[in-house]
Every structure is written in structure tokens, then in C-alpha cells.
């Protein structure tokens, strides 16, 4: 099976984020990491390849720093990478990002495309499904298991409130992968070494520009959420905080 994994670099979970001066985006001088569900998508692709042989290709869009997620993926076992490299890719809406990816892979023939189910920055949860529609492929979202079978695959979709559903579908298809579908591997030293010789194709904005349009939605302003609740800070040493909190639990929350 030939599998493409769409990956994204996002600010690290614990990174303190600051707004830029215009209040339109974050200041980009933060630490980045791979979007968590995308790491699970990569792991699933590697496992499928180990079972059924084939190829795993990883793709991302973003400035030079974004190539780090591709290098890590290559070190874990991906065969080659595609980097749509330009800072302008960061500001694309999900529709345009999907169109850029579709343009960049137009000469490829994949059986499966994986994305994480959503990103930790924008949180659109849309790019994978849009990409499927652009390619004319079937899709399934929030996937927790993938089995190859005659004429296609059987996937396990996660539904709300603890429900699941198996879905049989033909290939090629796009799947959005849920965190926790598998256990992530670490890159090995030899993997890291081999990654240096694996191909990374760079795609410029100019190469895909003709496939893009104006963004259909616009972020007017980014800001710190206004608190709707009055929060009381409990301060002091750990012992003092414990005492104060217990007093609240007893007298105000009344659970003691």
C-alpha cells in the first residue's frame, strides 16, 4: 500500500503563546512540535506498510522550520517527504491547504491518505475531508483501527459517548486518524542516520498557486478569551493552599 500522511507543525503544548502586535496571529518565536494526531497517523501508516509492504510518504506545508516534522517522520521510517515550503502556507484556510496538497501530489498514485483528525492550532478538523472531496475519494473520520480486506478496507470509526462503528470502504480513500489508535514509536539512531539520505521534495508556492483561490474565511482578530467566570486564586505554600481549599470545599462547595 502506498500511503500519504499529511502532517502539521504546531506550537508545543506547553509553549507560552503571545499575540503579535496586530492581534492577528501568534508571535512565531515559540517552540514547535508535530501535531499530536498526525504523529498517530504516521505511526499507523508505518504499521500498515510493515504488514502489507508499500511506501509511506509524508507531506507538510509551512516555512523552513516545518521540515523538522518531515525529518522526524523519515527517521521513524517514512520513505520520502514533500515540503510545500513558504511562510504564506501558514495563513491558508483549510480549503486552500487541501487544494495545495492536491496540486502537489497530482502525479502520485496513493492508495490511502491519512491526516490527524484535527490540528492543535486552528482546530478546523476539515482538511482531510476537503482533500477527499477534491480528489473524488471516499473518506472516513476519527478512525481507531484499519484492516485491509478484499476490495478495500474496514475501518473502525469512533462516535460520540463511547460508541463505535465499523465501515467497509473501497480504495483509494482518505482517513482522519484519532489519537490513541496505536502506540507511538521512537526514532532509532540508525533511523535518524538513514533519514539524511532520504528524498525530500520541495514545492514552492509558485508551483501550486494556480490551484489556489482567495481564502473563503478570514481571521479578523485573535485575542485572549474573556473570562466568563470569576476565578478565585488559592495562594500560599502547598500546605496553606491545601488548608484554604478544604475550607472552600467545606463551606462553599459543601462537599465535605
Amino acid at each position: 500500500m502506498k500511503i500519504l500522511v499529511c502532517m502539521k507543525q504546531v506550537p508545543q503544548k506547553d509553549a507560552p503563546l503571545k499575540l503579535n502586535e496586530g492581534g492577528t496571529w501568534i508571535r512565531e518565536d515559540v517552540s514547535y512540535e508535530v501535531n499530536e494526531p498526525d504523529a498517530y497517523a504516521l505511526e499507523e501508516a508505518l504499521r500498515q506498510k510493515e504488514k502489507h509492504s508499500g511506501e509511506v510518504v509524508v507531506i507538510t506545508s509551512g516555512p523552513a522550520r516545518a521540515s523538522q516534522v518531515l525529518r522526524e517522520a523519515l527517521a521513524k521510517g517514512a520513505d520520502r517527504a514533500i515540503h510545500l515550503e513558504d511562510n504564506a502556507f501558514v495563513g491558508l484556510d483549510a480549503y486552500n491547504t487541501a487544494r495545495a496538497f492536491a496540486a502537489a501530489i497530482k502525479d502520485e498514485k496513493f492508495d490511502l491518505i491519512f491526516t490527524g483528525l484535527q490540528s492543535d492550532d486552528y482546530g478546523y478538523a476539515q482538511t482531510g475531508v476537503i482533500l477527499a472531496e477534491l480528489l473524488g475519494w471516499p473518506h472516513a473520520t476519527i478512525i481507531m483501527q484499519i484492516e485491509k480486506q478484499d476490495g478495500g478496507i474496514r475501518v473502525k470509526r469512533e462516535l460520540e459517548a463511547g460508541f463505535f462503528q465499523f465501515v467497509d470502504m473501497p480504495l483509494p480513500a482518505v482517513l482522519t486518524i484519532q489519537s490513541g489508535i496505536n502506540k507511538l514509536r521512537y526514532a532509532t539512531l540508525i533511523g535518524i542516520k538513514q533519514a539524511k539520505n532520504k528524498p525530500m521534495r520541495k514545492v514552492t508556492m509558485a508551483e501550486v498557486q494556480s490551484a489556489l483561490g482567495e481564502n473563503l474565511q478570514r481571521i479578523e482578530k485573535l485575542y485572549i478569551p474573556q473570562k466568563t467566570k470569576k476565578t478565585e486564586m488559592i495562594q500560599g505554600s502547598p500546605g496553606e493552599m491545601a488548608k484554604k481549599l478544604v475550607e472552600k470545599l467545606r463551606n462553599e462547595v459543601r462537599v465535605l
Binding site: 473563503l216 478570514r218 481549599l245 467545606r250
Partner: protein, 328 residues
């Protein structure tokens, strides 16, 4: 026209559908645009009638055997036809797993976009602006549509009050819409919906919940949270990453993919407060959050905030609770 598409499963409308209808009524009141609703499925006339009791201009019952069971192909095909014929300005839906599954496809097929998981809206002059969380709730963005209508918006679970939906003065007319879904459109074959195992713990009934997140760091540290839960006479729960790691069983997970709870006390230990977790617990009467990161989004909704290392705070807290209980 504003069109609200409600969601049904097995002949029942879900709660978040009413919330979306409340949002539709509010936007209709502010813009003066007429409000209509639609429900799609194999046999939904009764549900359409139920919705028609609310303050809406009209309800469409979109019926086709191919809409049951749900597939993204059939839903996108049916709703595309319907929306193209009605030309609504704004299409509102709840941000459920099902809507997430088909609405980006539907909008793309129509050359349009979806503002997903919105938590509110504002009317700024003639322009409608929708607010949505970004960076896992650390920021909120005002987002507007830059292209042509129909504009698609999905609203987050809990963004509006479903019990505030206004009833109509009289029942709205219900129109049955014939939709054609051609053979071969539906490619996926869904099987029966099932539950993994019988849920051992019903957290929705717990009065006190102690929940752990990534801040607990290692599986062996779960013990300290367990002791705290026991001291409080409450249940132990967790955010998704903890259950993904197998440190606690999946049936103790709180959030969009787990249980939704509203206890008297929700004590969050080392939980940053990602949106997917918040939607499962924001209904708690009192929220106490312990986190070392003072900017963690969980503090936005906390009643009591303890900025500190949970490993330093929890042991004395257990002792104080035991003392308080012994003394009472």
C-alpha cells in the same frame, strides 16, 4: 434565510440540535432574516413535526432511504441538492462527530467554506462574525466569511442553551422534500453502531470527580489522584491522553469522545483544558483546577485556581480533607 439542520439518531433529536436552533433564533432576531429548519434521514416526518413546534418559519423533512444508515456521501449529496434549491444565506449545524464527517465535503462540493466549532457570533454593522477557539482554547478568534453565501457554521456543544429555544405561537408548516440520491453515490458500507464494552462506570451520576491529565506525568502517579478521589468520596476520571496511554480505562474518560458530566465538584489535576475535554465537564457546579501553568485554559473556567505543582499540593490536600472529615 437562515437554515438550521438538526441532527437525529435512531429517531431522536440530540440535545445539541436544540442549542443550534436557539442560536438560529438569536441570529434571526438580530438580522431580521427568516429562520427555517431541516431534518434529514430515512424517516423523519415525526421529528420535523417536533421541530415545527418551535419558533421557526418552516421545517423541511428530507427523506430518502439512502440516508439511513448515515453515510457522508448520501448526506452531502442530499443536502447539496436541497441547499442549492433553497439558497439559504446561513446554514447552521451542531458540531457533532457526524456533522464533522460530512460538512467539509458538502461545503467543498458547493465551493463554500465552513466556520467550524464556533462558540458564538457577533453582528458588527452588516457583517456577521463568528467566534471560535484556537490553539486549544488559549485564544479566541473572530472569523468572518470572505466568499459568497451559503455560509456554513457549526456550533460547539454547549455554546448555546438548548432549553432556551423559543416555542412558536402556532406550529410551523412542515414540507416533505423529495431528494434523489443516485445509485453508486454511496461508497461506504457502515455496520451497526456498537459500544466497546458495557460501561463499568457511570461518571454522570458522580457528585465529586477528580480528573487527571497529562500533568500527572507517569502511570504510577495516578495513585495520588486515586487517594484524593477516595478521600473526597468521589470518582476518578481522566482526560483523553491518559486513557490513550492506557493508564486508566477508556470508560473513565471525560470529554467529547468520553462522558459528559455535571458533578457538584470537578477537581482537575494537571489538565490543561483542551476544548475536547472542556465540553465534557464545563457543566460542573464548581471547578477546582490545579496546574503549574498559570496560562492553562482550564483556569478560564475554574472557580478555584491553584497554580502549583500538583505533586506538592495534593498530599497535604488529602491530609486536610481527612482531618476535616474526621472532625465533622
Amino acid at each position: 434565510m437562515i437554515l438550521v439542520i438538526v441532527e437525529q439518531r435512531e429517531g431522536k433529536l440530540n440535545r445539541v440540535s436544540w442549542e443550534t436552533l436557539t442560536a438560529g433564533q438569536a441570529i434571526a432576531a438580530e438580522t431580521g432574516w427568516p429562520l427555517e429548519a431541516a431534518v434529514a434521514g430515512g424517516s423523519v416526518a415525526a421529528l420535523a413535526t417536533e421541530v415545527a413546534g418551535k419558533k421557526v418559519g418552516k421545517v423541511y423533512s428530507i427523506e430518502n432511504a439512502k440516508l439511513e444508515p448515515y453515510t457522508p456521501d448520501a448526506f452531502a449529496a442530499a443536502l447539496k441538492q436541497f441547499i442549492a434549491s433553497k439558497q439559504p444565506k446561513l446554514v447552521l449545524m451542531p458540531h457533532t462527530y457526524q456533522v464533522r464527517d460530512f460538512v467539509p465535503k458538502l461545503a467543498t462540493a458547493m465551493g463554500r467554506t465552513v466556520i467550524s466549532d464556533a462558540i458564538g457570533y457577533k453582528k458588527e454593522g452588516e457583517k456577521l462574525v463568528f467566534t471560535r477557539q484556537m490553539f486549544q482554547g488559549k485564544f479566541v478568534a473572530d472569523v468572518s466569511f470572505a466568499g459568497d453565501a451559503p455560509w456554513f457554521v457549526t456550533f460547539q456543544n454547549g455554546a448555546f442553551r438548548g432549553d432556551k429555544v423559543e416555542a412558536g405561537a402556532s406550529a410551523a408548516p412542515v414540507e416533505t422534500v423529495a431528494i434523489d440520491v443516485a445509485d453508486g453515490v454511496v461508497r461506504n458500507k457502515p455496520q451497526e453502531v456498537f459500544k466497546e464494552a458495557k460501561q463499568a462506570v457511570d461518571l454522570t451520576q458522580a457528585e465529586v470527580i477528580v480528573a487527571v491529565g497529562r500533568g500527572i506525568k507517569e502511570q504510577k502517579n495516578i495513585e495520588i489522584a486515586k487517594q484524593l478521589a477516595e478521600a473526597l468520596g468521589g470518582e476518578l476520571a481522566a482526560s483523553r491522553p491518559i486513557c490513550d496511554s492506557g493508564w486508566l480505562p477508556m470508560d473513565r474518560q471525560i470529554g467529547s469522545s468520553g462522558q459528559t458530566v455535571a458533578p457538584k465538584l470537578y477537581l482537575a489535576l494537571g489538565i490543561s483544558g483542551a476544548i475536547q475535554h472542556i465540553v465534557g465537564m464545563k457543566g460542573a457546579r464548581t471547578i477546582v483546577a490545579v496546574n503549574k501553568d498559570s496560562e492553562a485554559p482550564i483556569f478560564e473556567i475554574a472557580d478555584y485556581a491553584v497554580v502549583g505543582n500538583l505533586f506538592e499540593v495534593v498530599p497535604p490536600l488529602i491530609e486536610e480533607i481527612k482531618k476535616a472529615k474526621a472532625g465533622s
